[in-house]
């Protein structure tokens, strides 16, 4: 017996060209276009300034629209995700997103008055890295890199590094430490994250 029915084979063959339509694929220029939009919004926020709450709020908007939030949450939770139920994953993801935007939004205030400039995009394996430089008065410029993937069907950033320090690694370490403190109890970590925001 032929393992695949003819109909299934024909269907998959027909589907193949659709999957490889180049317009949908992630390219260096599509990734750069995304970061251009993100950076334009960031520059708007840091030139407008305002209260901490305003800045965190606007930063959250960027995160909602341009970040691959499920990926970042899943990465931060790490291997502990294997034992988590769907409900636990959803609750963690929610609390983690709020914690993340509050934490980085607060730090974002230090960029006020500065400017972010997009440098160049480079395809690496199955993602694209877009290098930017942050210019702050009286300080040496520093590097911020966005990592873009089209995993979800849309171009979104799934990681960023500041002077080589990765958001994903930092948060996996942080969540890992919380899991250790709570003897691996994901619900306790989720509650802990809620308290922190």
């Amino acid at each position: 017996m032929f393992p695949i029915s003819r109909r299934a084979f024909m269907a998959s063959a027909a589907a193949l060209p659709i999957l490889t339509v180049p317009a949908l694929a992630l390219t260096e220029s599509s990734a750069k276009a995304l970061v251009d939009r993100v950076v334009a919004e960031i520059n708007q926020i840091i030139s407008a300034g305002g209260s901490e709450a305003t800045i965190i709020n606007r930063f959250e908007g960027i995160f909602q629209r341009y970040a691959d939030r499920p990926y970042i949450a899943a990465y931060a939770l790490g291997p502990a995700a294997r034992q988590a139920s769907q409900a636990q994953r959803a609750a963690f993801s929610n609390a983690f997103g709020a914690y993340l935007t509050a934490k980085y939004g607060r730090r974002f205030r230090e960029f006020v008055g500065g400017r972010v400039v997009v440098q160049r995009a480079q395809a690496v394996k199955n993602w694209v890295e877009v290098k930017c430089v942050v210019q702050l008065a009286g300080r040496a410029p520093f590097d911020v890199t966005f990592y873009i993937s089209d995993r979800t069907g849309r171009d979104l950033f799934f990681n960023m590094t500041v002077e080589g320090v990765s958001l994903l690694l930092t948060e996996r370490e942080e969540i890992g430490a919380m899991l250790d403190q709570n003897r691996g109890n994901i619900d306790a970590v989720t509650a802990n994250l809620r308290r922190m925001t």
Binding site: D68, A74, A81, A87, R89, A140, R151, S166, E174
Partner: protein, 251 residues
């Protein structure tokens, strides 16, 4: 001066001897190598207590009110930074990096003259920000492995390679050899103030790591190793993540 010079020569020879054994590929496959974690954690607790008791409270006093260092502290910081620049030039030369050597040398010239003996830092404003360099980096360029992670009392996170580098930097500093003893204490004092200035400048970031994270030791270690490797232009293969290779169902 004889004894110190002799000692410094001995130290260079010693660390070079250590190097020969350590010569290896610069690519790192291991993310964190921390065999002394227990001792390191004890030192970390001590450093954190020093920060809580001394640095953090002092930081408020020296700041310009907005959490940023005030004028006096910035000036002393500039002075200490300028005095440190010849050492960086020496390391740039040892690393066969004429670009950075020239860059940092120009900085030293500009700040020593227009910057009034280094009290101000016009070079940064004119597009010549510091390109930090140290003997730990020189050892890296020469092929030394990073070694084990260590947290040093008062000095903070380092690696065995970078600790050896710090010792050599201390004795190799041309300023140390040029400046007579009483003035040298002034330089040391300026350095201490400079360290406090950066504690104040990065105040919130440091507070976040030391007091805001679940395990400040682990976060400090990760932060240091990542930024150090970035500074040295190293990539850690194990740290790369494949965006498609993760189960995100439900998140």
């Amino acid at each position: 001066m004889m004894p110190t010079r002799f000692l410094s020569r001995q130290l260079v020879v010693l660390s070079l001897a250590g190097l020969l054994g350590a010569c290896a590929a610069p690519e790192i496959s291991q993310t964190i190598n921390d065999p002394y974690e227990e001792q390191n954690r004890a030192v970390h607790e001590f450093n954190k207590q020093v920060d809580t008791a001394i640095l953090k409270p002092l930081m408020g006093g020296g700041s310009g009110g907005d959490g940023k260092p005030g004028f006096a502290m910035r000036t002393v910081g500039n002075f200490a930074g300028n005095i440190d620049t010849p050492r960086m030039v020496v390391n740039d030369v040892l690393q066969a990096n004429p670009d950075d050597a020239a860059h940092n040398f120009m900085r030293f010239l500009i700040n020593s003259t227009f910057g009034i003996a280094g009290l101000f830092d016009p070079a940064t404003a004119w597009g010549l920000p510091e390109r930090p360099s140290d003997f730990g980096e020189t050892l890296h360029v020469w092929g030394a492995d990073e070694g084990a992670y260590v947290e040093l009392p008062l000095l903070g996170p380092s690696t065995s390679r970078d600790t050896a580098g710090r010792v050599v930097d201390f004795f190799m500093n041309p300023v140390r050899l040029a400046v007579p003893t009483p003035e040298r204490y002034g330089v040391t004092a300026a350095r201490i103030v400079a360290a406090m200035t950066s504690r104040s400048e990065y105040g919130e970031a440091i507070d976040d790591v030391l007091y805001g994270s679940a395990d400040s030791y682990a976060q400090t270690r990760l932060l240091y190793l990542q930024s150090r490797r970035f500074q040295l232009g190293q990539t850690v293969t194990a740290e790369e993540v494949d965006p498609f290779a993760l189960d995100t169902e439900g998140f």
